[in-house]
Amino acid sequence: MDYFLTEDQLMIKDLAKRIAEERIKPVRAELDEKEEFPKEIIQEMAKSDMFGIFIPEEFGGLGGRCLDLVLAVEELSRICSGVAISFAATALGSFPIILFGSQKQKEKYLPYVASGKSLCAFALTEPDAGSDASGIKTTARMEGGEYILNGTKQWITNGAEADIYTVIALTNPSKGIRGASAFIVEKGTPGFVFGKKEKKMGIRASSTRELVFSNCRIPAENLISKEGMGFMVAMKTLDQSRPGIGAQAIGIAQGAMEEALEYSHQRVQFGQPISSFQAVQHMLADMATQIEAARALVYSVARYMDSGAKEISKESAMTKLFASDVAMQVTINAVQILGGYGYMRDYPVEKMMRDAKITQIYEGTNQIQRNVIALQMLKERAKGR
């Protein structure tokens, strides 16, 4: 379908597609098998200015916005969402600085992100704080013009690979989540080390690590926004990034559908290609319909956000919720269409099915997305809208 993309957007989409097909596709199975972070590919993406897409022009980026990022993530995910998420998580990690950082912080960090010299990561989750961010225990105590961080962050995408971390920690534990603040922590800061490297079901090319802070001193100027604004910064960051997960999901689903369509045409049983069976055709038709619906939703919400809309939580949550459920359904059926071959690692659809699952979990589980959507609906009702 034609989504009336601009010339720049088509250019981003085409280049992301070329990177995916020419550079990622040949190695995706190996990266998955070896759980290897795609350093070389990330460097190539950096040279192609992909990391500049979401950075404002004045800081060396291209000044693209939500839809531009969505298009890039979708094309990369169509081939390998493990690589795509390492890219998207850099956007996620940089959003607190882009949205709430001071001019000085932006000048110091964003040019490195735009050029791809530095990857970013966003660290909210802790062992006891997943869906319930108010359970975080990491603290940031002010002492002699510095903050001292203590605590452990868990399952942080780009952990150890990123140079710039945006970290949510409590500056005033007695106030609970209202006492949380957001910080920039650079890799290599004394007292900041990396813990366990997770072994995952999918997106295995991406790095998921523990971040351990023990008396890690950072300058006071690394505080993003003001003390006590950490939870707000985190929530607005996630609002901004969720369409990216939606894009990841439609990319995975699109890739799986294409594989299934192609295979159904080649595979002969009962003397005819399996694509001639109506049961198979209907699965393909449902896949295509669901994907197009998800894409239409993700693109229109991205455009809505790019129009400068302020209240975006509900719509942003919808993109992730709907597209990730579509990705799961489509990849399960893609494996079904490939039958036993689909279950084997010789074909890419089993990886796509494993990869799809995470889109229903991270950046807020789909149950939490429904909570966000319903809460907003009730708020709007109360306001009489």
Binding site: R18, E44, K47, S48, D49
Partner: protein
């Protein structure tokens, strides 16, 4: 270091079709690309330029559409691009092509290194590079698969041979034709693509060059293509069935009939 890369725009091979009536290439609707070998020349030029903080100019002789090939070169990192285009250049064979390129390069004036692809995938002669070097009176190394050393005075390269490789030293300026083993061409960058969209492409016609007009185009081409034809499609084979002894007898008969034995 000043580098000139010669590129040719060619039809994407997977799509080449011959009109069975006229026996000519059907070019309408066939997407054009930069000759794949020339992508390696561009990449090598960019690498040298980046190391020596030099400049790289890409030139092509071709129809106005070759503008697209030059813009793509700019999106990859070329500093300048020149399109050598004129009806008077059309019908050029390799000699006339090389002559025209040589006139353009003389007009550019200063250069340290000229890079060409080993050969074009459509014309396929691999003659333009050597002819060009001859006309400019500079040394050439063909089939270069590696540049070992390079400075302003000299260059040492590895030439790919069937049974190994030659190591060649030559003074600069020089011309190299490169093979695909030399590097992995980069992808364009978004900023490069934006720059390419806005770039001014210089166009030179015969009037801008100092050459002898009768040496251009069809008139200046000593090669005449008498006939172009597609080879007859290979007839499909025959599969023999039956008893082994019968099949062998049948096979021998067939081989005798076709005078193979």
């Amino acid at each position: 270091m000043e580098i000139i890369v010669c590129i040719k725009q060619v039809p994407e091979t997977g799509n080449i079709k011959i009109n069975p009536q006229t026996n000519t290439l059907i070019r309408e609707g066939v997407p054009s690309i930069i000759n794949p070998m020339d992508m390696y020349a561009i990449e090598e030029g960019l690498r040298i330029k980046e190391k020596s903080s030099g400049r790289m100019t890409v030139i092509t002789m071709g129809p106005p559409q070759a503008d697209a090939a030059l813009r793509e070169s700019i999106s990859l990192g070329a500093d300048d691009a020149i399109l050598i285009s004129d009806k008077r250049f059309s019908g050029a064979d390799t000699w006339a092509t090389a002559y025209t390129l040589a006139q353009a390069i003389k007009k550019i004036g200063h250069y340290d290194l000229i890079l060409c692809g080993k050969q074009a995938i459509d014309g396929d002669t691999a003659q333009v590079g050597p002819e060009l070097a001859e006309m400019l009176g500079i040394p050439i190394a063909t089939y270069v698969r590696k540049i070992e050393e390079i400075d302003n005075e000299h260059i040492r390269v590895h030439r790919m041979m069937e049974d190994g490789y030659d190591v060649i030293d030559t003074p600069m300026p020089a011309l190299l034709t490169v093979v695909k083993e030399i590097n992995i061409p980069r992808l364009p960058s978004l900023k490069g693509k934006m720059k390419a969209r806005k770039a001014e492409i210089t166009v030179w016609t015969a009037d801008d060059l100092n050459g002898e007009p009768s040496f251009y185009g069809l008139q200046g081409s000593p090669t005449w293509v008498v006939k172009i034809f597609s080879p007859d499609p290979r007839p499909s084979g025959r599969i023999l069935t039956g008893k082994t002894s019968e099949m062998v007898a049948e096979l021998v008969k067939g081989l005798k009939e076709t005078k193979i034995i």
